[in-house]
């Protein structure tokens, strides 16, 4: 087999499976083996996409969710990276706090959203804050990992060239830690996005998450499924784009 076909065959199998599952569902629903009030036929779901665009402002909602994700990502880049650098710079702080931060990363921080509802109200601020806090430990820990993995030789070379402390940080340590920082930021953005859609769904405000909630409360099944597909599509796009970006950046740095 040529290289090309060995690459294409798995993709073809995957896509065929998706297609067959869709057809099978359509058939099972049309002969009433699956109740259409539990699961609308795929053709109805695809038909509902038009409604999402025409009546539900799905494009605007996408931008609301994307904007909130970016805002949380911006906060993460500032506080997460700074936090990681600070912990690396002061070993004693690191020994004191690293396990605490790791523990926080395992705690269901997003569950404190009712708290932020009280503090910041039912709006974008709450969504962004919760997502930021939930993703913060991951970014801090990844940044710290990046700095810790800088080979000691690099720093020694910097010292032997009489570099100042700041120069060693900005010209040696920071570039060496960049790949890991990017991994952390990508993870952070992904977590932020997941939390944002989740909280939007829970508190019924803002972008795509709210859309799913509203449509399901209206019992518009086909549109609910279509909206869920939309969210999946956006997450997949987001996931692949961030992976692609990370690979590019890795090549540059």
């Amino acid at each position: 087999m040529s290289v090309r076909s060995t690459k294409l065959v798995p993709i073809a199998i995957g896509l065929t499976t998706v297609f067959v599952v869709i057809l099978l569902l359509e058939f099972l629903i049309s002969v009433d083996i699956i109740d259409r009030f539990l699961m609308p036929p795929p053709s109805d779901v695809f038909g509902a996409f038009g409604r999402l665009f025409a009546q539900e402002n799905v494009v605007n909602r996408f931008f609301v969710t994307a904007g909130e994700t970016l805002a949380a990502g911006f906060l993460l880049a500032i506080f997460g990276v700074a936090g990681g650098a600070l912990l690396f710079r002061f070993t004693i702080l690191r020994s004191a706090y690293e396990t605490w931060i790791a523990a926080l990363a395992a705690a269901p921080v997003v569950l404190s959203y009712p708290l932020f509802l009280v503090i910041a109200g039912r709006g974008s601020a709450t969504v962004i804050l919760v997502a930021f806090l939930a993703a913060l430990p991951a970014v801090i820990l990844k940044t710290l990992e990046g700095f810790s993995q800088t080979p000691g030789v690099y720093v020694l070379v910097g010292k032997s060239l009489n570099a100042s402390r700041w120069q060693i940080f900005s010209k040696v340590m920071f570039p060496a830690a960049l790949p890991s920082i990017f991994v952390g930021l990508r993870l952070g953005l992904l977590f932020a996005m997941l939390n944002i859609v989740g909280v939007e769904f829970l508190i019924n405000t803002g972008g795509l998450g709210q859309l799913v909630n509203e449509l399901s409360e209206r019992y518009d099944l086909a549109a609910t499924y279509a909206a869920i597909l939309c969210v999946i599509l956006v997450s997949v796009l987001f996931f692949t784009a961030s992976e692609w970006l990370e690979r590019r950046l890795r090549r540059v740095t």
Binding site: V9, A103, V197, L202, I228, I232
Partner: protein, 257 residues
């Protein structure tokens, strides 16, 4: 160099600072008193919470939902990981889909799960099982790739059948990645179950949290959150110990549900 004493000092100092600042803010009236209630009120609420038998019934419900979800999602995930890992073509065909779906917020499937399984515990179990399936499957899959092929050849020489190969070679050789997957899966199952309970339910810890919010009992909400965080962190540390290695610093990112 940092000594144990210094580290302890810093930790103690930070805890005290937070507590003192909290109490000052609570008493100053700078923020609404209800948002930052006095520590005394919170500890009273914590005491009431932990001394009420009712609380433990709710904890039991949530634990039951999470345990079932972990069982269902975990077994399905391990099976999927082994099947895909044993066949290169299947792996390359379906692994991308595992990654894609693993990166979607599972919570938005909740309306669908309610439709299929009703508003009781089953819908939360189903949702949490789906969430925990993906990390377990992906972790098992990567574990399959790390198995020493010699083991498999030895198995073949002894004419091991399928079940013997799975039970005596795959599972023992992969206990580490499987445990890692289960620990990540547990984190997600806990978060998703609790969040789903805040959305629609009449039992469980998530329900208690949203109930405290509805009647605006902030001290009780803080007490609940503290209890839940303590449980989640404890479970993670315990599982990390089981996995071996450096207990507490292994990260179980719960935010990627």
């Amino acid at each position: 160099m940092s000594s144990r004493g210094q580290i302890f000092g810093i930790r103690l100092f930070s805890v005290l600072m937070v507590l003192v600042l909290w109490e000052i803010i609570a008493r100053s009236g700078l923020l609404y008193r209800d948002v930052v209630p006095s520590l005394i009120e919170i500890s009273m609420a914590l005491k009431n919470l932990l001394s009420s038998a009712d609380t433990y019934i709710h904890i039991g419900w949530t634990a039951w939902e999470v345990a079932l979800a972990l069982g269902i999602g975990g077994i399905a995930g391990i099976a999927a990981g082994i099947v895909l890992g044993a066949n290169d073509l299947l792996r390359r065909a379906y692994e991308p889909y595992l990654y894609y779906f693993g990166a979607t917020p599972k919570l938005i499937f909740f309306p669908v799960m309610i439709m299929w399984f009703g508003i009781g515990p089953s819908s939360k179990i189903a949702l949490a099982a789906v969430s925990c399936f993906f990390p377990v499957a992906l972790s098992t899959l990567s574990g399959m790739r790390g198995i020493n092929p010699v083991f498999l050849r030895v198995g073949k020489t002894f004419r091991a059948n399928l079940w013997q190969t799975v039970g005596k070679i795959y599972l023992p050789a992969m206990h580490r990645p499987i445990l890692t997957g289960l620990r990540l899966g547990l984190g997600l199952a806990v978060v998703v179950t609790l969040l789903a309970e805040t959305k629609l339910s009449n039992q469980g810890l998530g329900y208690l949290v949203i109930q405290a919010f509805t009647i605006f009992d902030m001290p009780r909400m803080y007490a609940l959150l503290l209890t839940i965080f303590a449980f989640a962190i404890g479970a993670n540390v315990l599982l990390a110990r089981l996995e071996g290695g450096r207990g507490g610093t292994r990260v179980g990112f719960s935010s990627g549900y």
